[in-house]
Amino acid sequence: MKYIDEFRDGELALGIAAAIAAEADPRRSYNLMEFCGGHTHAISRYGVTDLLPPAVRMIHGPGCPVCVLPIGRIDLAIRLALDQGVIVASYGDCLRVPASDNLSLLKAKARGGDVRMVYSPADALKIAAANPEREVVFLAIGFETTTPPTALVIKEAARAEVTNFSVLCNHVLTPAAITNILESPEVRRLGTLPLDGFIGPAHVSTVIGSRPYEFFAEEYAKPVVIAGFEPLDVMQAILMLVRQINDGRAEVENEFTRAVTRDGNLKAQALVSDVFELRRSFEWRGLGMVPYSALRIREAYGAFDAERRFRLETRSVADNKACECGAILRGVKHPRDCKVFGTVCTPESPIGSCMVSSEGACAAYYSYGRFREIPIVAGAPA
């Protein structure tokens, strides 16, 4: 397929792999975090790590929209569906995330809640139009990539004076999460999480541009290479990071020039700032409360804010004790370090959020890569 095959070419991959192997110094290690779940998915799906020398170590970051959504927020949506008869619409992945009381939105649906899977927020608005007598809430999640479509649908609802539609906003911000990781004790003080560089987000960067990462490169002296989601993009970005590290440089480089500019998509940014404002603080699964890391709906569009409309209060709910999603999301632990990985926690019945989405580190590792070192429990599914 045009514009796809070119970026999955095995021959080219071998060429880049040879360059990485030649240039990576075997006496040191290159600890690279791919922030995005999209990269985690590509690395696992195409077997990218098979092409890397042992000195290069990939660490999965927290950039999986479903994974970082805290239990308390899903609980809100579940309660709306079960107790208030609200139609709750959200993206497919979101419906399977485990929440309190052994529920998920999918399980709430089985208990009679009206939960609908949609492919875009516009579909949620259509549901509202088709059910004028019902309240419809769109559970909005995601990083900067999915925020503009949510903004657009809120503006459309305002324009059309829709009275039965609102959004439970959980949109979060990438730069805040990267700062949080770089400021974490594991990185700063304990040094248990060596981080030598970042593969920067692909789709997120098409919206926010490469400029926001310049701060990390300067302030924390960490190189960042923005890369597309295709496997050759990832390989090329790894090569660029190895070169920066070898040269002692810490710059923002852009491998994904076919889609990302320094300033990003200004129209989308204007749309987002028209509808949303910063939250002072927001809870992330794994990272805890992160200041100025999320968005909420501005007063002017308050009629479409489910939190205001239904006077919702978020309760913070602790993760399952055995679950290591928190540490995995911070890059401190690997899925194989988790006791419940592949035993109690599998994609069929996930305990933690990282096992839910195909972009989650645990799900990607379980589905694509566990043959490498995990002895699997015999007779799993028959």
């Binding site: 070419d9 799906r45 077997g47 994609p347 599914p381």
Partner: protein
């Protein structure tokens, strides 16, 4: 003088009529629906017996039986509909034992309010599919549920067939060293259906691959009686089918991504939605596990059949205590091809 005509029932208004609860109540309305719609379309000597059961001659050989429920949405999709799908699905399940399918039974659950015109279309499509396949629908049943308690129409079909002597095809017979053969492109059915879903509708000229595979199977069995396993990769796609066989036979498998045929439109649609064609449903494809020595002969026979023209050798059976299905990616790496967890869902980011 009375104008009453003995035994007269006004014909069903197929064009404008709808299913109502009386069509399932066991009275005259139901008898009329059965006669005018089902019996007329499926017409064969067994249905003509007009009994609650079909009285069948005893077939020679070992008998196989299979049943399949069909709940597809939308009911009509490019390349087919729930009617022909319900015939092909069960014929294929029977045929995957190497059997020759002989008879089908069909059960219908209709939702009150369902247009009779649509029902006629579906029943005609079933009748055509059964006739073309040479497998008659010999008995059936109809129930009507209240509006809101069904999704238009659900169809269950059951099939009976006989396995030729000397054929022993089973999912537990794959052995390390065997070859894995696929009869054609994957993902066509699932993507054709998805392209018609209300919330997703995208323009494409993709059509479902729904087809009865017993003819192809007969040719394969005749050429290579030592076939080990056959399975049609329907729900869950090729990946799930391979995992089923690997787990049943307690072996591993390795396939080559580059060897698996995928139509360009399917690849593009999957790419766009973030889906993996390995997990997308097929309704006219099969996977065969065959001893290495017979692989070339099998491929030759398959490619000579219209439903196997794009048959391909996609991998081999390996020894693996974990029963993993692995894939050499086109990119040069290796990865697991796992069981599908839940439904395949489009990615968010």
């Amino acid at each position: 003088m009375s104008g009453v005509r003995a035994g007269y029932v006004r014909p069903l208004d197929i064009r404008h009529g709808r299913v109502d609860l009386s069509h399932g109540a066991g009275g005259r309305a139901m008898a009329q629906l059965v006669e005018q719609l089902f019996a007329a379309a499926f017409a064969n000597e067994w249905l003509a017996q007009r009994n609650d059961q079909a009285l069948l001659p005893r077939p020679e050989g070992r008998i196989v039986m299979s049943t399949d429920c069909h709940v597809v949405s939308p009911l009509f999709f490019p390349g087919g509909d729930i009617g022909c799908l319900s015939v092909h699905g069960t014929i294929n399940d029977v045929a995957m034992s190497g059997a020759q399918p002989l008879w089908l039974a069909a059960g219908f659950i209709l939702e009150e309010g369902f247009p009779l015109a649509d029902l006629q279309r579906i029943v005609d499509s079933m009748a055509r599919a059964a006739r073309d396949a040479g497998v008659p629908i010999v008995t059936g049943d109809t129930k009507v549920v209240e509006k809101g308690k069904g999704d238009g129409v659900f169809i269950t079909t059951t099939g009976v067939g006989v396995v030729p002597a000397g054929v022993a095809i089973s999912g537990d017979r794959a052995r390390p060293g065997d070859r894995i053969v696929l009869s054609g492109t994957i993902g066509d059915h699932g993507m054709a259906v998805m392209s018609e879903r209300e919330s997703l509708a995208f323009g494409t000229d993709l059509v479902s691959d729904t087809a009865p595979l017993h003819g192809l199977v007969a040719a394969m069995v005749e050429a290579v009686p030592g076939l080990r396993a056959l399975r049609d990769p329907t729900r869950g796609g090729l990946a799930t089918t391979l995992n089923e066989i690997a787990s049943q036979s307690a072996v591993g498998m390795t396939i080559d991504e580059a060897a698996v045929p995928v139509e360009r439109q399917v690849e593009a649609a999957c790419e766009f939605l973030g889906l993996d064609p390995l997990y997308v449903a097929n309704e006219g494809k099969l996977v065969a596990i065959v001893p290495a020595a017979d692989a070339d002969r099998l491929l030759e026979v398959m490619r000579a059949h219209p439903l196997g023209r794009r048959a391909a050798l996609i991998g081999e059976v390996t020894e693996d205590a974990h029963h993993f299905v692995q894939m050499r990616t086109r990119f040069g790496g290796k990865r697991i091809v796992d069981w599908l967890a839940g439904d395949q869902l489009p990615r968010i980011c």
